[in-house]
Symmetry: C2
Subunit: 240 residues, 2 copies
């Protein structure tokens, strides 16, 4: 897939993901690791971007998870998508003046400004953006047509796939910093029902969830069960 893996890409998950989206020349790579040097930290629960706020420029998440969400007048909350290491936020085609949703850190998050686009980075940003859109579509399917159990499995599989890009999956298991209540807000369910659904999956041996780590027992079989299709990034982007 990549002819000459370099040190930075190996060691920093976020950069590893970006490098996986499109081949990077040395210059772009340098720009990225340079940007990563000037990183900023954000505490759990803090907003990276407020709803309706002006968007500065694209940011790269280096570490930690964030959620893109909107809160209704009566307090109901819906998370549209998760933002993982190596993901970009505020990655609009042109100056997208106002944020359509608030981005909140789910744990400690470190991030940096995305360096100005070189031709290679332009490609990376475009692919990343295309993937974002694919994930939004997948989210719509989940909420519109899947049952609670299917939603949960499908989401787990998506996270598995996405974290793989950054090299954050080991033996089909990965960090799981999600609260059941957070999970409820993505899946359009109540925390109570997420709890029960989760128990079913564990009870049936589909997954193991312990010590902040999720382990999928048989991703391939689960994918078949819920009709999940992995979003491809080969050459460029593609469908879920």
């Amino acid at each position: 897939m990549k002819a000459t893996p370099r040190l930075v890409e190996q060691s920093i998950p976020a950069l590893r993901r970006l490098a996986a989206l499109a081949p990077l020349d040395r210059q772009s790579e340098a720009a990225l690791s340079d940007a990563a040097m000037r990183m900023r930290s954000v505490k759990p629960g803090q907003e990276l971007i407020a709803y309706g706020a002006a968007v500065q420029g694209p940011l790269i998440i280096l570490n930690g998870w964030a959620a893109r969400s909107r809160i209704l007048a009566d307090g109901r909350r819906q998370i549209m998508s998760f933002i993982l290491p190596g993901d970009l936020v505020g990655n609009c085609r042109q100056h997208c003046p106002l944020s359509l949703s608030s981005i909140v850190a789910l744990g400690s998050v470190t991030l940096c400004h995305a360096p100005p686009a070189t031709p290679a980075l332009e490609q990376v940003y475009a692919v990343s953006h295309a993937l974002d859109e694919a994930y939004l579509l997948a989210q719509i399917i989940r909420l519109g047509r899947l049952s609670a159990e299917e939603r949960l499995i499908d989401l787990m599989l998506e996270l598995h796939d996405r974290l793989s890009l950054a090299g954050l999956v080991y033996e089909d298991g990965f960090a799981w910093p999600l609260t059941q209540s957070t999970l409820a807000d993505v899946l359009g369910l109540t925390p109570v029902h997420v709890n029960r659904t989760l128990q079913q999956l564990r009870g049936r041996g589909d997954v193991t969830l312990r010590a902040g780590r999720l382990q999928l027992m048989d991703p391939h079989q689960l994918a078949k069960r819920v009709g999940h299709t992995t979003v491809r990034v080969t050459g460029s982007s593609d469908a879920a």
Copy 2:
């Protein structure tokens, strides 16, 4: 809003919408009406773009409605969004090789290729794309956190707002080519329940639905009831 409305924009709803997204110079306008000349027709139910098909280039819908949808293995269908006159399809930042969803004509649809981007058109395409994304987010909220009645009202208001841009709304009423079953597929409900919900709205005098035309009795009051916020396009794009 627009200093010098010209004939084409006045007469063709699709062009009217595009002109409303960003100011058009004479050259871009000419390119658009020229492209509109070479239009193509598509019959009801036919696919404009098949799922997974290669995307040629951006298209402009001149007339009629289409739906961007995905069908699951077991036949369940979810419509992610409607595509209305003046909307673009396949409007990716770069070559987005494969379609993430199939686009199917809901009635007779006429469309044309989007002309190569002039600076002004570049702006139009970008704003249109930003709006598309805003509508996807709105759709996620609907499916994730709104009740059946709220979903229906919110969708009606969105369509009202979007069709307004093209000048297709008259006295808060507009064409309504949607089948209850189609409606069910957008809203993540069953046709039966859409029927009952629709009856509630009519019975309560919130809307009138007759002869393929929907009339909102008090959009402002309805918007307040479901917490609907109109997506703004002032200057550029913005949030719902």
